[in-house]
Symmetry: C2
Subunit: 283 residues, 2 copies
């Protein structure tokens, strides 16, 4: 048993990454571990960017567990014009998800090559139009889908979401290393479920420990984007299709997401500058 | 875009599943979504079974995010005798994990075929010896690894772990359907992070909602195995390599895991009976 590591992957990443016509920044939101709130961060980040006046799209690349439709309160079949799939839209954000194409409880039990094909369709077969930001909600982990995307899409940078628990941090470090090895800049780490404020006595509870996201970012030399509390209201917002960021930047619970969105915009501009001018091919 | 569903997978599941010599019950622990506590349940279930006097093994099939070594407090390189890998052991449980072979922060960025090969090595290339229960910690979701395992391993039955949040339940239903479609009996659903008791005021907080696991089990006609609280002590047990079940069945926090283990044993015997006698091939 001598399986290869990411050396091969890093080599392949040097292949040409075709730009997506009209899309300025591609922001990948990933995590080493599932259930840390990656989709919650992606959804609220996209809504915050749109509310701040930017043309924004959200592509749900978590084809096995597409939670974006439920969280965004939208679940219709997308139309097609000719061969081009038309994205849905809610809260000012253009949307595409496997959940729109395969709703209900049926699991997708797919092999790798089928996944690659769907992801490419989502990236290049959807009429995204002109976008300032296309946020991609990656599946958790460091597997096939993530690798294919990073190798074929001109990703501006990645946001890594983690909780402060040691098992989540262990996996978050792997996610950071994966992005580094495929030459995708890390825009920063978000610590989600950082603490819970008891709704009965207002005392603070460190359910999943606390502070590990900031410490891990410092130790790995990457930016820290902020800590988000574990807040039942945020979960309810996601479960009911009314994400907390829709309440706007002045809402005390939504505010932190707007701060993170500001930092993501800043880091994305920096990352794009380092890479040099974007070459945009349009028809 | 017309990707196939699980019809093909279900057909392939009818292929011969070679028994694993000496292993009586293969218990798969899965989840539709990551971060719901699947590994926590698998680890504590295995320890409880071992403490109750059963020969038990735990195979970590979550090759991309192997958290079993950290939770089980073991991280050595396994020895090999000839071609046979020797499992590690802690708390009376025999262990194998990708984390033992590839420790540290390096992510595995593997394609499907390499995964299949590793999983088969773990199942059949490890000297598990005589076991009453081999608990398999599946990766979250309904992807390649899960499909390969269900198609090639004689799994007695599956435990599906979920939280009560709607997004987790949405994915849990997919996991149940996946197991059904590949003809693996569902031993039952566990609702994890069911509620939190505030350590300051002892009031109950329904962080991720509550009761959805039991309702989903009833709606889908599968057993409900129990509800486990969201308890910082359980998380600390996992983060420090001393899982809560090591405190024994009389510990008030560990007790629920022993009750779930009892139910799993009962359901596994029932599932094995329905399938008829096991044919064991030994050399």
């Amino acid at each position: 048993m001598s399986p290869g590591h990411t050396g091969q992957a890093a080599g392949q990443a040097a292949q040409a990454k075709l730009p997506i016509a009209g899309v300025k920044h591609l922001i990948a939101v990933g995590s080493g571990k599932g259930g840390v709130g990656k989709t919650t961060v992606a959804v609220n980040l996209a809504i915050a960017l749109a509310r701040m006046g930017h043309k924004t799209g959200l592509m749900d690349a978590d084809v096995y567990g597409p939670n974006v439709p439920l969280m965004m309160g939208t679940n219709q079949a997308p139309a097609a014009i000719g061969e081009r799939i038309q994205p849905l839209q809610n809260f000012g954000v253009k949307l595409m998800s496997m959940g729109f194409l395969s709703p209900g409880d049926k699991p997708l039990v797919w092999r790798g090559p089928m996944l690659h094909s769907v992801i490419q369709q989502f990236l290049r077969g959807v009429d995204w139009g002109a976008l300032d930001y296309l946020v991609i909600d990656l599946p958790p982990g460091t597997g096939d889908v993530q690798l294919s995307l990073m190798q074929t899409a001109p990703v501006t940078g990645a946001v890594v979401v983690t909780t402060p628990s040691d098992v989540a941090l262990e996996d978050a470090r792997k996610a950071v290393r994966m992005f580094e090895q495929v030459k995708v800049p890390i825009l920063g780490i978000v610590e989600n479920m950082s603490y819970l404020t008891c709704p009965h006595c207002n005392e603070r509870i460190d359910v999943f420990s606390t502070g590990g996201g900031r410490r891990t970012a410092a130790a790995m030399g990457v930016n820290f984007l902020g800590a988000l509390p574990l807040d039942p209201h945020v979960r309810i917002g996601g479960d009911t299709g009314k994400p907390i960021a829709t309440f706007g930047p002045d809402d005390k619970r939504a505010h932190a997401y707007y701060e993170i969105a500001q930092l993501v915009m800043k880091r994305a501009d920096e990352a794009a500058e380092v890479k040099g001018p974007t070459i945009t091919v349009s028809d």
